[in-house]
């Protein structure tokens, strides 16, 4: 049984029909990537799965249970965390407070401390900045914080929306290494990326989204070879 199964999901912004029947599955332990051009509906897909923008139609099945219609604030205790587009860190709280907020629904102090240490192992920079107000950090540091905050809930499924946005090439490499490591430690990942090249390198499978619908899905290696994908998303002619 897949960890996450999305069936024929439709979502709207007012009258705008942003998702027109998205279906996808993510198996436990996988890294699945969702690629597509600007405005294709990648962010909307993550927001709909996560209950921030509840889908009007369709099913979201997580760990065998239907969760469409579950309010967003209950998703985290079910095991889904997100590092959202635009980071959305709490800019007027310190790094530590942001991480604590990531563990908001938990009350096991020891476990929270262990997880914070784990985040600091992945992102030593965050430990150096622990007392800094989050909004004053650099873009890359904020991105690390957004991912770290999501990890603080010890999620089973991590939704990552463009973690490489605005980062220098070196840092992109580093972030993707870390994503790989997070996955190796047992977290299933659904990754949205503009940077399809790198995303397809670390993903097991990929989906291609176009104007609110999935138009292609295949193992990542295969998508990398697909001439259409190469042309549209890998910047090759």
């Amino acid at each position: 049984m897949a960890l996450l199964e999305v069936e024929n999901m439709h979502s709207y912004y007012g009258n705008i029909h942003a998702l027109r029947g998205v279906s996808l599955t993510v198996e436990e332990g996988e890294v699945v990537t969702l690629i597509g051009s600007n405005g294709a509906g990648k962010t909307t897909t993550l927001r709909s799965i996560h209950g921030v923008l509840p889908p009007k139609e369709g099913k979201v099945i997580f760990d065998g249970k239907e969760i469409q219609g579950t309010p967003a604030h209950d998703m985290i205790s079910r095991g889904i965390a997100q590092s959202p587009e635009g980071r959305k860190i709490f800019s007027r709280m310190t790094v530590r407070e942001n991480l604590e907020m990531g563990a908001y629904h938990r009350s096991d102090r020891d476990g929270i401390r262990t997880d914070m240490d784990r985040v600091f192992e992945l992102f030593p920079r965050l430990q150096e900045r622990i007392k800094q107000e989050a909004g004053t950090m650099s873009g890359g540091e904020q991105q690390m914080l957004a991912i770290g905050r999501a990890l603080m809930s010890r999620p089973r499924l991590l939704l990552l929306d463009e973690p490489s946005m605005g980062l220098s090439p070196v840092l992109v490499e580093r972030i993707f290494d870390i994503i790989r490591e997070i996955n190796a430690q047992g977290t299933t990942i659904l990754l949205v990326e503009q940077n399809a090249n790198v995303a397809l390198e670390i993903a097991t499978r990929g989906y291609v989204l176009e104007t609110g619908a999935i138009v292609n899905s295949a193992p990542a290696a295969k998508l990398r070879e697909d001439p259409k994908v190469r042309e549209a998303y890998l910047g090759e002619i």
Binding site: H73, D74, A81, S91, R92, M93, E97, Y104
Partner: protein, 343 residues
Amino acid sequence: MDSIKGSSWQSRLAVVLIAILLVALLIQAVANPGQFVSQLLIGITNGAIIALVALGYTLVYGIIELINFAHGDNFMIGSFVGLTLLAGFGIFAPISGDSGTFIKILGVLLALVVAMVVCGFVNVAIERIAYKPLRNSPRLAVLITAIGMSFILQNIGLVWKGPAQVPFPELISSANIFPGDAIIFRWKDLFVIAATIPLLLGLSYFIKNTKQGKAMRAVAQDKEAAAMVGINVNRTISITFLLGGILAGASGVMFGLFNGITVFNVGFTQGLYAFTAAVLGGIGNLTGAVVGGFLIGIIGSMADQYIGVRWTAIVIFGVLVLVLVFRPRGLLGDRSAVQGGGE
């Protein structure tokens, strides 16, 4: 300060005007220090009552960017609840100036607590009924609704106690605490200060240190991110209204006991001063609301004494304008304490 660096003629004028006011005040203070100190103490007491209401405006603004116009009228409801408990109920004999000290203290505490609870829940109900359904509507729609709620509460007050001023029982002595009458600080004044301090400390502790307080700050900064980490945004907004209502309820009872009267539209004038205090201090900033409240109380009492009661409102709003000329976001307005958590 960079706001002075780029100063225009308006802000220079503002500085000059404020300086003239301060010098005039200083001359008076030197001429009759006892009177000045007494006036200052009255100002602080009035300021405490205003500050508690101002906090309610600023808390709500900090979290949903709404000016809750009904807030002042909730303060009025608080004073009415207190009055009803103290004077109007047959459950125990009306408490009056002749009752024993113990009964008086008990009565005042009970009135405070009940008014706080009632106003807290009135505020929560207002948000649920009138504001929540409009959360995604244009700002103006919610603002008009808030004005509507203000009228509804005022009319409830009108039906409840009639159009005339109603007297509050004289439970707290107006006698001076200090011997002689060089400096006047009455038991009443002490009561207001003594009731305000724990409320302010409690609020500050709640916002800074409790999980729920942190959730409030998170919601104020980013509602979507707050929901993603598991914070129930609607409940957090309700709790914010609850806190604001609790403070307004306490303030309403204190106002009644302090001034000896209340009236159905007292929320309009007091609310206006409190709102002004919140803006003066920087709306959204908790410390700002307290500072603004005390400032307005003090400016008001000074104007009463040295300029004339008729001019007080003009002086207060004049100072507001002067301050906003140089600090358009209020004295502490560039960062919100609700959001930033600093006290």
